[in-house]
Amino acid sequence: MDYATFLQIFDTTLRLATPLLFACLAGLYSERAGVFDIGLEGKMLMAAMASGAVAALSGSVWIGLMAGIVGSLAFALVHGIASITFRGNQLISGVALNFVASGITVLIAQDLFGQGGRTPPLEGGARMLEITLPLAETLRPVPVIGPLYADVISGHPILVYVGLLLVPATWWLLYRTRFGLRLRAVGENPASVDTAGVSVKRLRFSAVLIAGVLCGLAGAYMATGLQAGFGREMTAGRGYIALAALIFAKWRPWHALWACLLFGFFQSLALRPDVMQAVGIKIPGPALDALPYILTVVVLAGLVGKAVPPRAGGEPYVKER
């Protein structure tokens, strides 16, 4: 296998890891605040449909992006109302919203475009352009590093870079700001926040809504960046892979990046059976698909360190006497 193939695979890895990363960080905010979010998948799907459809109708990917965020936020809001306001079962709420999203996206897309639940292929300004980073062409001739910079790091839609930047930003927000301190506290012991005179509900809602925005970016990237349009069930379980990555990363931002890159790498390998053959490793495609889940179970089993979720995760907060 040559260097160029390597680069191709890493290039694909980065592309495929981006939606995982957005969704994983979304889950991180929500779960760090004590609200479990199985509904990442549904929010992504909703955002993909909304952004794909609006981009197709308006011809502008940016209006589409906003629509995607709004669509995802609507679902996040329902999740917040169910699990924070009415103290419902957070897991069930997430599962339910995934089903609603799975159905309603097809209903709306079919009604708008009549193409079997798909949007028409996006073209021109309705797609997210790939941007070339400065000096990409200048540096290309430099051996090893040049092509890496020009082909793998440069040349992605802007959301890829936004996703990468969100990792340090999230770390900073969580560990260096007042908001982050309170967010982490509310996921560990909401009573500590409540008795300190800070609203548990408001904090948790903001976390859930941040998750909504991030899932919106994930979905919009899928429909307008990674692919040219929305197709039914196009997220194909990525929300759950992101959830797996979140557990794999033990709810920490930098680890989330590595987990998503790893899982993205598996996905890109699964797309290249030729490479697998060339290296002489015979891993069946389905095994690669299942690898993120298997690794997550291994982590959950405590075989590789212990994954301790936020202590108040999944429990509605009730003031006690």
Partner: protein
Amino acid sequence: MMGAHDTGRQASAAPFAIELKGISKAFGPVQANKDISIQVAKGSIHGIIGENGAGKSTLMSILYGFYKADAGEILINGRPTTIPDSQSAIRAGIGMVFQHFKLVQNFTVLENIILGAEDGPMLATSLGKARKVLADLAREYELDVDPDALVEDLSVGHQQRVEILKALYRQAEILILDEPTGVLTPAEADHLFRILRGLKDQGKTIILITHKLREIMEITDTVSVMRRGQMTATVKTAETNPEQLAELMVGRKVLLHVEKQPANPGRTVLEVENLRVVDEQGVERLKGISLSIRAGEILGIAGVAGNGQSELLEVLGGLTRGTGVVRMNGKTLDLTGRHSDGQSRRADGIAHVPEDRQVLGLIMDFTAWENVAFGYHHAPEYQKNGLLMDNEAIRRDTEAKMATFDVRPPIPTLAAKNFSGGNQQKIVVAREIERNPDLLLVGQPTRGVDIGAIEFIHKQIVALRDAGKAVLLISVELDEIMSLSDRIAVMFDGRIMGERDPATTNERELGLLMAGVSEGAA
């Protein structure tokens, strides 16, 4: 000083730090607080004493903005103040140290201190400032804690200091402590009292909620007594004595006098040698307990809550594992293996009325009859046709037990949660005693139970003893221990400090043992 807080209305005297006027609060039909008024002078330590469920915590929750009072008025430093939420309480200068700490376990001490009281959106400035303030407070009040330690690594006493520091960091002038010594060792409690005196000397006002008379006598300036939601009296501590306070608390002169004949002990039923229990956090809770109980006697275990009594009950009842030797009717019990569970213990003739009936003893959503079978669901008389449970037989049995124990209402199909505390306890006691066990383990048999049921339950326990059975009684109510027991052992810090004869001992002697003062020194 006077001028600073002068509101014009009270020109003659300094206003009270806190004044409550006619506070009432009901939860549905339950009147938790009825027309409560108190006045707490600035720079004093005021005790509020009362039994469990007397309404102390509700009153303090109102003061801290957790509940809104149905009626009444709160004055802080003479100014009428509304406290709709905790933020307002903090702003009014009130700090609260809850019985169950409100700390984030995997945060550092500093992070816990600044949480909710940060200066600006960036943490760095807040942390720096808090570190300095903390150092000052530590010097001033003996409140040393490592600011960078994780709370989960701190001892309970230190965690409580963090709570106090949190309040002081928020510049609380009024500090409320809810049952602060329940989880402390005597040494830690002494330290806490030194801290409180120091705070008082600096002009802070302190409200101490407790049900321990000794603490009230030791540290407070004035004391209010609560009973059944009402404030029965407020007196100067110097002008009262424990007997008077106890009477005010309970409402009648003699709380407990159980009619019983002298014990007639027979063969040894339970022998415990060098029993040790280590909890999940790796802390040794029982540090080598040895005791024995004979047929026909009640061994009472006295002690401050948290000194290993719960663990003793749990390991004997098969809920937790331990090491050492426990012999029941001469048979060595399994303390670690697959027979160290509740079923095996029952098979060996041990019945167990647990300390917390709502968490352990009953399934609150189950009906009364389902609860009567609880733990005895394998009993042959509850089965039929080999495979099935004979629900009809259990219901009949429940009706019989309800009649014997006067459970009201006598409806077997009613859910446990729909019975009063006393009747719930009667169901548990009936279930365990009617099995005619050789040994009855019983923890806090009358906690949260009304007077009538208390007498009834006590009679049943004595009757079991008179029937030649062994009873191990654990209670934090010293009166209960003294009036029921034939022998009294005192537990402190996971050990038995000594044994006394109830006929010859007194509260003072037991109190010293409970405080960890060993026999030689006593």
